[in-house]
């Protein structure tokens, strides 16, 4: 009788250990999944930034023939593009400011291009402009997706009990990708 009792106690203890073990594995894998999402999201931003960098030489080349008196602006765009290319791959902290510079230079370029109707009607220019518009959206959306996933991941790192689980693996806090842009629209806060 007593023997049986001890066995059933053992079963309980083993059961409890197994449950806690499974729970721990679940939490750990959850962190791995979130970290991978963050890293994939960053890779996506990289792809889109590269896409932007690749479009700009073409854009300047097309505009050159029309905007003869705007050499400085065109130079500034090229320069901003080159420093953005150099900053790419050095993480969010370096890429952010460089991309801001490029955004500013492009904005000035497009403001000036308004004065050249021939350029604006150029078919090549039109399709480049569509590609650039799309690229700007892609960058904004991939950044948004990246920052959302960083927020989810970092929050998990601070919460109990994952703040303990994180010590069993390589889970550094991730940095946000900031772009200062006053015209940027703030997100309506909807949580899912």
């Amino acid at each position: 009788m007593q023997m049986l009792f001890a066995v059933s106690e053992m079963v309980w203890i083993i059961g409890l250990v197994v449950v806690i073990g499974v729970w721990f594995v679940g939490l750990y894998n959850g962190l791995v999944r979130l970290k991978n999402i963050v890293e994939e999201a960053w890779a996506q931003i990289d792809v889109q930034l590269k896409r932007r960098h690749d479009l700009i030489p073409n854009l300047v080349e097309t505009a050159k023939g029309y905007m003869k008196h705007e050499k400085e602006t065109l130079e500034a765009v090229i320069q901003a593009r080159n420093s953005a290319v150099a900053a790419a791959g050095q993480g969010p902290a370096a890429a952010g400011p460089a991309e801001n510079m490029l955004t500013g230079a492009l904005r000035q370029f497009f403001a000036l291009s308004e004065a050249y109707p021939d350029l604006k009607a150029n078919e090549n220019m039109l399709s480049l402009q569509e590609e650039l518009t799309s690229t700007e959206n892609r960058i904004a959306f991939s950044r948004q997706h990246y920052n959302d996933s960083v927020r989810r991941y970092n929050t998990k790192l601070e919460q109990i009990p994952t703040n303990i689980v994180k010590n069993f693996g390589d889970f550094p806090e991730k940095e946000f990708f900031e772009i200062e842009d006053p015209s940027e629209r703030e997100a309506p806060k909807v949580s899912f």
Partner: protein
């Protein structure tokens, strides 16, 4: 802060989960009741329901998307055909953090769009020529974000699952009621038989109404998700207003109506009703505008 909207999204999601469970309960208990009435044990009926559901699910899994797309007359397009449309879809796919779906164009002047596919990796979005031509770039982005939201929220899969259940219930009821007519009456299990007949008559309606209810909840959800993706609820609201009453589409049928962004049969702005696959357009626009207002109030601070 924004608790109203948050609860709204959560509520829509939770309710639709309950409705799906309820549809499963309806299907299983129909099988059980029919089984009990015809053989004295529920298991035979439940087994038959299981077999029918499996066959339908296998078909839906493998053929569902291509069937829906071809019955709507959709043609896949690439960047050469329509650079803006392809760009817009790729943008919202990025916003959703999902792979780019296949993009289809339906050569029809009606204004409509839909998404299908059992998983985000094999999703397709389709838009009619009429809608494509009527919308601005931002509005198109809103509509495609709504479709991508259906993909990301697994609505496309949920609706396929529900269609399978509705189909199973319809087939079971039909088989049972027809079978009853030819079989000699006056066997045993009299009371059970009455219950089964009533059940077999009502269950198809019930499962269809449940499917519609889930569809309505999911539409609100997709609108809200689209707004968070593009941060531009106004563009989607504008698009829906343009769509109002012009969603009519030849290639749509009763089996696929719930897939579309607006109902392809109703030409007037409908009131909320249990027989509608979509919430009233006016209410959807109102909710989106409220979202836009909320957001404008914040950014002006």
């Amino acid at each position: 802060m924004d608790l109203g909207l948050f609860q709204n999204v959560e509520q829509n999601r939770r309710r639709s989960v309950w409705l799906i469970l309820l549809s499963i309960v309806v299907t299983v208990s129909l099988g059980g009741v029919i089984g009990a009435a015809s053989t004295g044990t529920p298991w035979a009926g439940i087994g038959i329901a299981g077999v029918i559901a499996t066959v339908l699910a296998l078909f839906a899994w493998n053929q569902g998307s291509s069937f829906v797309l071809s019955s709507a007359g959709a043609k896949e397009i690439g960047k050469e055909e329509d650079a803006v449309l392809v760009n817009v879809v790729e943008e919202v796919a990025i916003a959703a953090g999902l792979p780019r779906p296949r993009i289809y164009l339906i050569d029809d002047p009606g204004m409509n769009a839909f998404a299908t596919g059992i998983s985000p990796d094999q999703a397709s979005v389709a838009v009619t020529r009429g809608l494509r031509d009527a919308l601005s770039r931002d509005e198109l982005q809103g509509v495609m974000a709504h479709e991508m939201a259906h993909v990301g929220n697994y609505d496309t899969r949920v609706m396929i699952l529900l269609s399978v259940l509705v189909g199973t219930v319809a087939i079971m009821s039909d088989m049972f009621l027809r079978g009853r007519m030819y079989r000699a009456r006056g066997k045993n299990q009299g009371a059970m038989m009455v219950v089964a007949i009533v059940f077999a008559i009502l269950a198809p309606f019930a499962s269809m109404l449940l499917q519609f209810a889930v569809s309505r909840k999911r539409e609100y959800l997709a609108d809200a998700t689209a707004a968070t993706m593009t941060r531009n609820p106004d563009a989607l609201a504008d698009a829906l207003e343009k769509l109002g009453g012009r969603g009519k589409l030849e290639g749509a049928n009763r089996g696929t109506q719930h897939l579309f962004i607006v109902n392809p049969f109703r030409t007037r702005q409908e009131l909320s009703s249990a027989f509608a696959t979509h919430p009233p357009l006016r209410e959807r626009v109102r909710r989106l505008r409220a979202l836009a207002g909320r957001y404008a109030a914040r950014s002006s601070k």
